[in-house]
């Protein structure tokens, strides 16, 4: 026993090293479990508060770009007003009134922390549970889809961004309607890959890639980017399509979080079919 204690005292440095190292590696491996407890992520109130104050400062420097984006969006929305369409008396249209049964709700939020240079990139938003944000909601900016809400605290939320190797999004080609999954390979923050498009599909450079709407996180047809390069390995039955993202992740400050009203209903229904 005494020898054992002497051994521990003699090698306490190495033993302590292995213990602490094991603890931190455990943290790394149980990453997802720890992400869930928002205490250790940037949605916690202390680090979230500091980052919020910092982004308030850095945002000031980007006001010109933000204004430009907002002005452009205003113009776009104005062009959608009924007044900007010419009423023709020769026809009458049946209008599907979407207000009677609203399916998607948009809530605006501000990005207070953002990264593009890691393999697992996350954003932090300044709104949380108290503002009606829940995990698994889609996040878009005025230029296209951004990511999916991962963790929510009372006042902040973290978003797993499209340029995160852990996220796959169901996407389709707007022209032909073929769908596949969109993945990031961890290199360039401007490019992602669209996989699982069969080789008989017609793909050409410049085609738009949009969300498929199958996962019901995003509505159908949210812009993701456009095709930049098409690869087809010999003997492969699926294309590997390089997509240029429409969103510039380096310059992101205002986003909208999409809530889906009847998502619970859809998931329940799908579960029943799976169980059969």
């Amino acid at each position: 026993m005494r020898n054992f204690i002497r051994f521990i005292i003699k090698y306490h440095f190495t033993i302590l090293f292995f213990i602490i190292e094991a603890v931190s590696l455990l943290l790394v491996i149980n990453y997802n479990a720890y992400q869930r407890s928002s205490f250790l992520s940037s949605s916690s109130s202390v680090s979230g508060g500091i980052l919020k104050r910092y982004s308030a400062g850095s945002e000031y420097l980007m006001l010109r770009d933000i204004n430009e984006d907002l002005a452009r969006e205003n113009a776009y929305l104005r062009s959608r007003l009924p007044e900007s369409f010419r009423a023709s008396r020769d026809y009458f249209n049946l209008v599907n009134d979407s207000t009677s049964m609203q399916e998607y709700i948009y809530r605006s939020a501000r990005v207070i922390n953002n990264s593009t240079h890691r393999r697992f990139n996350y954003l932090t938003l300044n709104k949380g549970r108290l503002n009606g944000i829940e995990p698994e909601m889609g996040v878009i900016s005025n230029k296209g889809a951004v990511g999916i809400v991962k963790n929510v605290s009372d006042n902040y939320s973290t978003v797993i961004s499209i340029i995160n190797t852990r996220l796959k999004i169901s996407a389709k080609l707007k022209e032909s309607g073929f769908f596949g999954s969109l993945e990031w390979d961890g290199t360039s923050y401007q490019h992602v890959y669209l996989l699982d498009i069969p080789r008989h599909a017609n793909v050409s450079v410049g085609d738009l890639v949009v969300t498929s709407g199958y996962s019901s996180i995003f509505p159908e047809g949210i812009l993701l980017g456009n095709v930049e390069d098409v690869e087809l390995d010999k003997g492969a039955s699926f294309y590997r399509i390089r997509v240029k993202l429409s969103v510039d992740f380096k310059n992101l400050s205002f986003v909208e979080v999409i809530g889906h009203n009847s998502i619970a209903e859809q998931i329940n229904l799908e579960k029943i079919s799976e169980d059969d």
Partner: protein, 172 residues
Amino acid sequence: MISYAPRYIFNFVFFTLIQVLVLNNIQLSGFVNPYLYILFVLTLPFETPGWLLLLLGFSSGMVIDIFSNTPGMHASATVFMCFLRPYVLRLFAPRDEYQPGTIPTMGYYGFAWFLRYAVILVVAHHLFLFFIEVFSLTHFFSTFVRVLSSSALTLILILIAQLFSQGKKQGR
């Protein structure tokens, strides 16, 4: 030992904020991320007991992790570096041993000594960090390039920071 405390508490907060608010947003050509915060551990006094060294390394890494959503990655890399530190110090010990009352900085032991000491620990830290981040050997070469280029940038920043603190000492 106690008299060092305020200075190192300041260092800890200062380097953490610099790292989180400025350097984490720097990215050159998708490869190079400098990690200046490890300078805090590099300049801890020679007499720091081993257990304290490991705990300080763990906490400084963990704070960076909390801010960048990577639980454990920086912590494990910094603890690894802290573990190597005493051996590296012993390896480069001058003939007449380290003088009491000095700390391992460029101001006390010169540019050449500090460079050798810093290169080994910085590269060890970055190697560990980037390979933990990738968590596989599939991208071995590209990860290795990242390690080397990021280490170079971190070293440059560390040397600049050292020059600044040295200047302050001579001014007194």
